[in-house]
């Protein structure tokens, strides 16, 4: 698979070289660069564009500001709606079934599931309406359908799943801070020590499916949960890594060092409600782009948070972490205003002015000009995000993920958490090994349902 990627990269480089003379004849490359001096915005007076996204309050405030700026520039009116991460997909499906999706919508790495609603952006990129002069091919590749080369959206930025922690509670318990290569044993020791001192769970939010992916990659070189091309599993039916994770987390939870599933569900996808922001927990697992929203709430309570990597199985083993597109702006293929939508996406992704407001809260910008401008005057919290993304990007296995989540993923990850993790905690399985075996059997069954 890596070879195919390299070949793709070389091919796209060659194509760019070939395209340069051709472009010189037609419209100048980068003609729609919103950052160019004297750039004239298209006039959309009297027209309306609709947009929807998911996210926190912090995100909503920032996005609304950017929308108003674009409205001022173009004279357009933008109708927007936003939901929390859970509600979004229900709304999305209802709109999809009714054929009333918004012109532009935020899309996750689950875009394969909603593929038939998405307008490929290749044409708009080729024409230069969506300006990609400052976006590297590797960044565009994070949202490309490997099967046919369709660009399914423009990435709002890259992120990585990682841990945030409260150093004050680590100090209080007298345990060392996480290092770049800390292990699951270090994690367990820290969680126990902190729980002993505070009497509260040391960690409240864990993403069980992504932890499972990480541990599979960490276990043995070449292992992955789903294969890179998204056509199946990639761990040879080896259930040992999963049994290891089942055992580790369930034991810690039964000791009280990890919050029970009720607490975890209460917090849900609402990162701003996590206990760590109120000084009641020491660690949380999150996506790096959620760190700002979390830090905002923590700061109100006088708490400063830091970012750390996901623990490893062994110190000198693989990291099991990935840098990927956090989410993307996609265009509805039923939209009546595709050019306008492309122009909005162009502004949203590329504008320095807009991204100074958005401040990489959705992910670290894929546009090098934007990123350079943002890094110049980054505040302390955002700098931590840049640092962790740079660190994870330096791990050799950090590109180990497929751009698309398979359609079966939603059910497989739900079953992993609710049937097996929660079932094991309830004593419904004789051992972690048995739970892992049974999960593997059910995961294959679920996968088969999507084959026909």
């Amino acid at each position: 698979m890596k070879r195919i990627l390299v070949a793709l990269l070389i091919a796209s480089l060659m194509l760019t070289c070939l395209a340069i003379p051709a472009m010189a004849e037609g419209e100048a490359e980068g003609w729609n660069n919103v950052n160019a001096e004297g750039y004239v915005f298209p006039d959309y007076s009297g027209e309306t564009l609709s947009i929807m996204w998911w996210g926190s309050n912090t995100r909503a405030e920032m996005t609304e500001k950017v929308i108003h700026l674009w409205e001022e520039h173009t004279g357009a009116k933008v109708e927007f709606e936003w939901y929390d991460g859970g509600t979004y997909w229900t709304q999305f499906q209802a709109k999809m079934a009714a054929g009333t999706l918004t012109d532009v919508f935020q899309m996750g790495n689950n875009w394969l599931t909603y593929y038939n609603t998405i307008e490929p952006l290749n044409e708009y990129i080729d024409e230069g309406i969506i300006d990609t002069t400052a976006i590297g091919p590797a960044m565009i590749a994070t949202t490309v359908n490997q099967a046919n080369g369709d660009v399914t959206g423009m990435s709002n930025g890259t992120n990585a799943r990682c841990f945030a922690y409260n150093p004050a509670l680590f100090d209080q318990a007298g345990v060392a801070y996480p290092t770049a290569t800390w292990t699951w044993e270090d994690f367990a020791d820290a969680a126990r020590a902190i729980h002993e001192v505070t009497g509260k769970p040391a960690i409240t939010t864990l993403e069980y499916n992504s932890l499972a992916y990480s541990v599979f990659t960490q276990w043995k070189e070449g292992y992955n949960f789903y294969s890179m091309d998204g056509t199946g599993f990639a761990f040879d039916g080896d259930t040992e890594p999963l049994a290891y994770l089942f055992d580790l987390l369930t034991t810690l939870q039964q000791e009280g060092a990890i919050a029970d599933y009720g607490i975890q569900n209460e917090i849900g996808s609402n990162i701003e409600a996590d206990w760590i922001a109120y000084g009641d927990a020491a660690m949380v697992m999150l996506s790096s782009n959620q760190f700002q929203a979390l830090s905002n709430v923590a700061a109100e309570n006088g708490i400063t948070l830091e970012l750390a990597t996901i623990p490893r199985v062994s110190e000198d083993g693989q990291s099991g972490m990935v840098v990927r597109s956090s989410q993307q702006m996609s265009m509805w293929n039923g939209s009546q205003k595709k050019e306008m939508a492309a122009n909005f996406i162009n502004y949203f992704i590329n504008s320095v002015e807009a991204n100074k407001i958005l401040n990489c809260e959705r992910g670290v910008s894929i546009n090098s000009d934007v990123l350079a401008a943002l890094k110049e005057d980054a505040d302390e919290v955002t700098s931590k995000v840049y640092t962790i993304i740079d660190l994870i990007g330096s791990f050799p296995d950090a590109a180990n993920t497929s751009p698309a989540e398979p359609a079966a993923n939603e059910e497989i990850s739900d079953v992993l958490k609710k049937t097996y993790f929660q079932g094991l905690a309830e004593g419904k399985f004789a051992s972690a090994e048995e739970a892992a075996e049974l999960f593997w059997a059910e995961a294959q069954e679920i996968w088969a349902k999507f084959e026909n």
Binding site: D260, Y261, N265, E410, G423
Partner: protein, 303 residues
């Protein structure tokens, strides 16, 4: 000429004035919405239940595959069980509550209307997301109820973290919305002739005796009505489970409506979800039918 006109006018007027025309005319809004919102979706869902279908796809015929798979689906079986638990505990609780408050409020006082309105409010707002969020806070891991229980020694007690107790706040939330049953009970209580009570009082029957020998029998048709309405709404419970517990932990509150929603919208098995909803319909119809059948033995009609 004049005559034809008059005759035509007369027959058109006759058509417009006929009771049937007027009746259908007024019923049209209902008929249209009933077709669009109930009959057509039901027919579609019946068709989809025999198909491999997800939202946005073209349904392909699957035969009874969906129903066959349902028989081996442990999650679905569990959903049926926990829904039954919810209904068996929740509905009687709600009816007892409703009858109790209705009886307290039958004494004609000036504030009667006010109290009835106050007790009815939960029924108006109870199914809403906002109330579910309030209950989530109230019974949540840091809520006042849990804190109170913890002061009695159960240090790590948490409703929503326990497969044994997670259902209780949901049942209470449902029971709290007793307003509509209460109003129906209240009007039923008014229908019971006063002479019965006076006569029994003279014969020396105490309050308990009067309740069981007069109030309950006379109220039995109303109880039947309320029981059936509440059973049906109990089987369809969804909002609280979705918002408060998301069906968890370990499917302890994964009620059938929530399970259907998950299969259809999250896991992309809409055909399978439709099959589940038809099974649910059959079960509900069977239970309702059973209650109707046996009702002649325990309801009492005065006439």
């Amino acid at each position: 000429m004049q005559a034809t006109k008059r005759r035509f006018g007369k027959s058109a007027g006759g058509f417009l004035n006929s009771d049937n025309t007027v009746g259908y005319l007024f019923a049209i809004p209902f008929i249209i919405s009933f077709l669009l919102m109930t009959i057509i979706p039901m027919a579609l869902s019946f068709y989809y239940s025999f198909c491999n279908y997800w939202i946005g796809s073209v349904p392909t015929w699957f035969g009874i595959e969906n129903f066959y798979e349902l028989m081996h689906d442990a999650t679905f079986g569990n959903s049926l069980l926990v829904t039954l638990q919810y209904v068996v505990i929740g509905v009687p609780l709600k009816l007892v509550f409703a009858l109790l408050i209705a009886m307290l409020l039958t004494k004609p006082t000036r504030a009667q209307g006010f109290y009835r309105a106050v007790y009815y409010i939960p029924s108006l707002i109870g199914g809403s997301v906002a109330v579910a969020l309030v209950w989530k806070q109230l019974f949540g891991s840091r809520g006042p109820v849990v804190n109170l229980i913890r002061t009695f020694g159960a240090e790590s007690f948490n409703f929503f973290g326990s497969t044994t107790w997670a259902f209780l706040p949901l049942v209470l939330c449902n029971a709290w919305q007793f307003g509509s049953s209460m109003l129906i009970f209240a009007s039923g209580l008014k229908q019971i002739p006063k002479d019965y009570y006076e006569a029994s009082e003279i014969d020396g029957a105490n309050v308990v005796r009067r309740f069981f020998s007069i109030t309950l029998p006379c109220l039995s048709p109303i109880i039947l009505f309320n029981l059936i309405m509440q059973l049906i709404s109990g089987f369809m419970t969804f909002t609280q489970a979705q918002i408060i517990t998301d069906g968890g932990p370990n499917y302890a509150t994964n009620y059938i409506a929530l399970n259907i929603f998950k299969e259809g919208f999250a896991y992309q098995h809409m055909g399978y979800a439709c099959a589940q909803s038809w099974i649910m319909l059959i079960i509900m119809a069977a239970i309702t039918g059973l209650i109707f059948k046996t009702s002649s033995h325990w309801t009492y009609y005065e006439n």
